[in-house]
Symmetry: C3
Subunit: 272 residues, 3 copies
Amino acid sequence: MKITALDIWRAIEEIRGKAPLIHNITNYVVMNTTANALLAIGASPVMAHAAEEVEDMVAIAGALVINIGTLSDHWVESMFRAAGEAKKRNIPIILDPVGAGATRYRTETARKLIKTASPSIIRGNASEIMALGPEKGARTKGVDSTALSHAAIDAARDLNKTHGSVICISGETDYIIDIDSNIIEIRNGHPMMPRVTGLGCTASALCGAFAAVNSNYALAAVQAMAVMGIAGEIAAETAAGPGSLQTAFLDTLYCLTESDIEKRLRCFILNN
Amino acid sequence: MKITALDIWRAIEEIRGKAPLIHNITNYVVMNTTANALLAIGASPVMAHAAEEVEDMVAIAGALVINIGTLSDHWVESMFRAAGEAKKRNIPIILDPVGAGATRYRTETARKLIKTASPSIIRGNASEIMALGPEKGARTKGVDSTALSHAAIDAARDLNKTHGSVICISGETDYIIDIDSNIIEIRNGHPMMPRVTGLGCTASALCGAFAAVNSNYALAAVQAMAVMGIAGEIAAETAAGPGSLQTAFLDTLYCLTESDIEKRLRCFILNN
Amino acid sequence: MKITALDIWRAIEEIRGKAPLIHNITNYVVMNTTANALLAIGASPVMAHAAEEVEDMVAIAGALVINIGTLSDHWVESMFRAAGEAKKRNIPIILDPVGAGATRYRTETARKLIKTASPSIIRGNASEIMALGPEKGARTKGVDSTALSHAAIDAARDLNKTHGSVICISGETDYIIDIDSNIIEIRNGHPMMPRVTGLGCTASALCGAFAAVNSNYALAAVQAMAVMGIAGEIAAETAAGPGSLQTAFLDTLYCLTESDIEKRLRCFILNN
């Protein structure tokens, strides 16, 4: 795998040119900002969760993004329906297991979705990915962030081997673990970003946009996470706080240039 | 019909003075920005969708805005209940058939709502309005935007004759088709507006605010669309992208003056 | 009770240090802005409403915030479940009875929640609090705002005696009525704030954040309302309208200093 600013830029141009429909079954908190981020990068978002229509909707989509941030039973049912249809049609599925590990309902729903849908990409923070790793694994608490990363990477490798999913662990450094257990590190982003709700969810949605134009899903995930981090950095330069960071982030996604990516991309490949 | 900046301004002053309650049964994506737009123009938004209360709520409202952007069965049931009560009480109903044509569930729900509720105003983009036209009509795909407009206007005229609704087709140029099949064109707005999610939904909500103070619903729709377009233009002058466009749009709605409207209004009446 | 800028500042520092998890079962309109406000002040928001998980979630939370702004039957069921668990575990419960008085469903749901859950803090506007007062009480309409305040304070005293809840009546002046029927007045804030949707809901969520670090709930409510008003004042100084006010409000919460509070706090205690 080779990651270049030029390839990222070409992927953005392809998104802007094709405006792929991204079907989101996501949480209430982030629907507005997720839709706005997809529009800003050039994709066409749609939110639809009714059992009556999710199969029809996903059939015309370029990617399906499932996010369990405010799950409930009818929504979960629709997630499975949409995922089944997407799988049948070979449409990439991105899973954001928000809050896995916090309640049994979330952990189990995420596990079942992974088992049934074999998502193309799973994106979560370290504790969410660890919660989805081997069940026998001890839960990690109060460890330093290096240990946390290692434990999460182990869980990611396991998920990856078992289900074939590309795993993206987001945090100060983002890690993408591909199908051959290579690790790609992205060191873009800004410390104020976690103070804006739903930027993680936005990252998952952008993974959908990039996966819609690139069937190398590891590369798509890397491109999406790099764009997130770079746009966040640029936005933070003018932001007075998390309110204006969200606004500037959307402006930046819309205005992003190849030169912005060229100058800022901090991406490292660690071979297996 | 005569459209003047002074009349639009008087309608805004009436909204600001009376603060009519606008009852929205709308989609999750736009609830926040719709409520903010209604507050910024001077109306009082309420969102309520429970079967247990929609009839009580619409009974104290100046208009009912129904938007099927994230529909599901319980919500649809409440839309019918609220619409029935609104019709009984002669409260104007605005329908936004988001995504009609994309899935059968949306198209059929929108058709049934139109048949049952005879909305005062239906506002959608060209493809949504066409999806609601005569069922025998061939679906238009890949045609240029002039042909699209013509096909949508034909569908609008049909809806208008059959159900008595004022139809508003929004796009680069907005078309309002009134009860006598007159066409009013509004050429305000800015190309960045479609990159902000839910500005179409906001337009429908503003139609509700203007219809609450003006029983000439064609005029109310024209006024709402002109205000949308003008506020969008002004906001775009300072916006660095779609994030700041949304923020500036709300600021502009709040600060709009008669002189802003006077200077910018581009409205043309084409008689039948 | 003594209210000082230093105590408010220490509470903010404690929130920032501990990042208490605030479990919100709230309305669709404000989920995003509420989560952002909690993040900006330093707390950790979570939104979760499924019957399957609310008890697990509240068990790890520092406070539970229940807001009936877009209620429906399944959500109400979860509110009761979560409240029951919170009560059992002595976790503070904040209730925001949005729209009580507007429909019977809202008034009755709010009354039942109060009876069952004995919330630590109830925060609403004057008409909502009055709607929850003694049922025999005549409804107050068209009275001047002084009479409105008096009637609301009477209702608050009654709620306070019957259920032991701290009552916060927000408006141009905020009133907090404590367990001994003392009244604390806060005269911070800005007239543009009611033109931003959900700042009242944000106030309730911040009551949760302060209650999570301070078991004197009257003091927690006073601190939260003072911070709301002060942040609103500062934000309004640079805001061009309600759009930029919301953005600047979040920025201000994030950047707030002890000196901001010291300079602006306008808080008065009227003993019983």
